[in-house]
């Protein structure tokens, strides 16, 4: 590698830092190109894509893994015609996806399987919630006694209020400025219940840590750096699967995120995208998603409490509020007030 090549690489990175995908994988044996851009780890979605490739042998599937903001920017640019579009955009940043649909960037599709989705998991027949992943609380099973495990946000509040010394600096949650998902969960929390204000206050009082990434949080809990973490996406925990991390679905309410699937308006191969969507929604696809932790289903008879506490994040216009600049700045301001106080005791 010459010095010149390094410079060119560096320049390329500087020129388009936001549009670079993190990883790419190829599936299938066919010749017809089919491009999926997604925020989901390749490893997690690989079984589903491999199974789909078997049903569609003519496709040459390219899977690109992107960061959620970068993916949104690229899809928006593709919508404006500045960039070649992908055939599928599949993202956990559902508010960004809703905004793309609201900008008329998506292509409608209707089938038996999309029609069977509940109204909270589809909008305009242009965006579909394919997965079901709970936002959970996790704790270190070695360090937290079973009777101390909080079962709800109220328990967590009580814990922070009653025994602040014990949990000081050892509760973690997403840094909402760093993590789009963390911001989305926090935003929905603020709408869902008044507990959000109390939680912020509790986090401030107990010097809670705000970190960027799911992996970091899960690792921190597993290693005992944090006792408890709040609002972690359940699927990540299941995939990381450390032995000493317990999972709690808060029984006051549990947020469920459905990763959003969208076919861009200008997709080159929309029919393959439609087939892939139908495949993911089919019993086979749903089973594969469940096996990689993306489809958390509960048996209605066994866990009625979780059923009633279930709050799907609805794909629809109200999510646009989360994207509003003023609203987000105000949200960040409040958040930073809380964590700045805790960061500088």
């Amino acid at each position: 590698m010459t010095r010149l090549a390094q410079i060119v690489c560096a320049l390329a990175l500087l020129a388009a830092p936001a549009t670079a995908q993190e990883a790419t994988a190829e599936f299938g044996t066919g010749t017809t190109p089919f491009l999926i851009r997604s925020t989901t780890d390749i490893a997690i979605l690989a079984p589903a894509i491999t199974a789909f490739a078997e049903t569609a042998p003519d496709l040459a599937i390219t899977y690109e893994q992107w960061g959620s903001n970068a993916l949104h920017a690229s899809a928006a640019a593709a919508c404006d015609g500045d960039l070649a579009p992908s055939d599928v955009v599949f993202s956990s940043a559902v508010h960004l996806m809703v905004s793309l649909v609201n900008r008329a960037c998506a292509r409608p599709y209707l089938s038996e399987s999309t029609r069977a989705l509940p109204p909270t998991r589809r909008w305009r027949d242009e965006i579909w919630g394919v997965t079901q992943e709970p936002a959970v609380m996790i704790y270190n099973t070695d360090l937290v006694a079973p009777e101390d495990v909080p079962q709800s946000r109220f328990d967590l509040l009580d814990l922070m209020r009653n025994d602040p010394g014990k949990v000081r600096g050892r509760i973690a949650t997403y840094d909402i400025e760093e993590s789009g998902l963390g911001y989305l969960f926090a935003h929905i929390d603020s709408l869902e219940a008044t507990t959000y204000g109390s939680l912020l206050e509790g986090f401030a009082r107990s010097d809670a840590a705000a970190t960027c990434c799911s992996a970091e949080i899960i690792d921190g809990v597993s290693k005992g750096i944090y006792l408890i973490a709040y609002n972690v996406l359940g699927s990540y925990v299941e995939n990381a699967a450390p032995g000493n991390v317990g999972v709690v679905l808060p029984d006051d309410y549990t947020l469920f995120l459905s990763r959003a699937y969208m076919i861009p308006d200008r997709a080159a191969n929309p029919s393959a995208a439609e087939e892939f969507l139908d495949f993911l929604l089919s019993p086979q696809g749903q089973t594969i998603l469940a096996s990689v932790g993306l489809n958390y289903t509960t048996d209605e008879d066994e866990e009625p409490a979780i059923q009633s506490a279930r709050r799907s994040i609805p794909l629809g216009l109200p999510l646009l509020v989360a994207l509003d600049d003023n609203t987000r700045q105000a949200f960040y301001l409040r958040w930073n007030d809380t964590f700045a106080r805790s960061a500088t005791p």
Partner: protein, 461 residues
């Protein structure tokens, strides 16, 4: 019933109903669409305004600048139109974007309205927008902040169509009912025609009796009555023809037989003087047969004309004048002068000139042949009756002959060579045809026979 060329009543009525319904449906659809659109536009405009006001209410001034904490309720309100895309923008007094989508259109801000609705586009799709104003007069910030909210039109159009269809449905049902009722009514109305057709088809060829109009609608009864009248006329003419044929046969048999006998006798006669006498008699017989035939033809003509020729108003004096001027009497009774007695006023009757002249001729020739001069002919009017009369000083017509003139057939007329009876029967037929009668009287040794007819007032045509 449906003849080639003319469409059936049902088809005509249905065509009319469909045309009326079609025109009505177009008008109703237009008005329903306008109403539905107005209602739907109002409803969704209210929604839009509600959302915009929701957003406007959350505007605060912080550090000398407007800040918006976007309310979710505004978007939940907009989500009442579940498939519509939205856009929004909050702009400061200088038009700079506070928050929202920069591509949301800006209305004419100079118009002093608190809320301004306008139409526009959202990425190529028709959309409706509202712009509301929130005014601030703070120490560190003053001016108007505009909130613009826009929404595509899927839901409002769907509602308008829905409202239109809802109001069109009853009209459609009424239309279908109307068509059904039309079919039933027309079927019911024309059913008597089928019955009449069956009646006609089932008749024997000589049955010309009237068809019953019972249960036939008035409009169709008109046709049936006219048909009945026509059949009556046909029946009379048919009868007249029959009687003419049988009369002719009866009346000609005897004279023809007599002529034959006389001819045969004349052939066998050897004496030239006797033969001449016989031939002379034969010639007279033949002439008289000719006269008889003439009379019979004229009677048949009269009977035919009474049914077939339209009546007209006639001056009876004109008829009398014509009779005298024809100067038949020069032939029938040479030397006898006929005196005409007429007044100055018109005597108008309704009738057929030819028939009346024939009747008059017969009366006159009777008087000339069988009566005694002087013969007078005249016209009189009395008590609403007009009379065409003939007078002579002869013995008059035997009353028993007169009473039989109304009868169809006068056998004794045939037995006489110069038949008074047949002549009278012509007069009688004319009298019958025009509502008149034969009147006889005797006064000062003069016998008068008259054809009396109802007069027609000049002023009542």
């Amino acid at each position: 019933m449906s003849d080639r060329g003319a469409p059936s009543l049902l088809a005509r009525l249905l065509a009319a109903v469909v045309v009326i319904l079609g025109a009505g449906a177009v008008i109703a659809a237009l008005s329903a669409w306008l109403n539905g659109r107005t209602a739907s536009w109002e409803a969704y405009d209210r929604l839009l305004l509600g959302a915009a006001n929701d957003i406007a209410e959350t505007i605060r001034v912080s550090d000398g600048a407007p800040v918006v904490i976007l309310p979710t309720s505004a978007f939940e309100l907009l989500a009442q139109a579940p498939d519509d895309r939205v856009t929004y923008a909050v702009r400061g007094p200088d038009g700079s974007l506070v928050t929202g989508h920069a591509d949301a259109p800006v209305p004419d801000w100079d118009r002093p309205a608190e809320a301004q609705f306008f139409d526009g586009e959202m990425r190529g799709e028709d959309a409706r927008f509202v712009d509301v104003v929130r005014r601030f007069s703070e120490r560190n910030f003053s001016g108007a902040v505009h909130v613009t909210v826009g929404q595509t039109m899927i839901a409002r159009r769907a509602l308008a169509v829905d409202l239109m269809l809802n109001s069109l449905l009853p009209i459609a049902i009424a239309g279908a009912a109307l068509i059904l009722i039309s079919i039933l009514v027309v079927r019911g109305a024309v059913r008597p025609l089928d019955r009449i057709a069956e009646d006609m088809a089932g008749r024997d060829p000589y049955d010309l009796t009237p068809v019953s109009t019972k249960g036939v609608p008035r409009e169709i009864a008109v046709i049936v009555t006219a048909m009945n009248r026509f059949m009556g006329r046909l029946d009379r003419q048919f009868g007249a023809m029959q009687s003419l044929i049988s009369d002719t046969a009866h009346q000609l048999r005897t004279p023809v037989a007599a002529i034959r006998v006389q001819a045969e006798t004349a052939i066998e006669e050897t004496d030239p003087a006797e033969r001449d006498r016989l031939l002379d008699r034969l010639a007279r017989r033949t002439r008289s047969l000719g006269t008889l035939l003439d009379q019979m033809l004229s009677r048949a003509l009269v009977v035919h004309r009474t049914d077939s020729v339209a009546r007209e108003a006639l001056d009876l004096r004109q008829i009398a004048l014509e009779l005298v001027e024809a100067r038949d009497h020069d032939l029938l009774a040479p030397g006898v002068e006929v005196e005409l007695v007429i007044g100055e006023d018109e005597v108008t009757v309704e009738g057929d000139e030819f028939s009346l002249v024939q009747a008059g001729k017969n009366l006159l020739s009777n008087a000339l042949k069988h009566g005694a001069p002087p013969v007078r002919i005249g016209v009189a009017e009395q008590a609403g009756r007009a009379q065409l009369w003939i007078e002579d000083t002869g013995p008059g017509i035997p009353p028993e002959l007169l009473t039989r003139t109304g009868e169809r057939f006068q056998r004794n007329a045939a037995s006489r060579e110069d038949s008074v009876g047949l002549g009278l029967s012509i007069v009688s037929a004319v009298a019958d045809a025009f509502g008149g009668e034969i009147v006889t009287s005797r006064e000062d040794g003069r016998f008068r026979v008259a054809l009396s007819l109802p007069t027609v007032r000049e002023d009542t045509p």
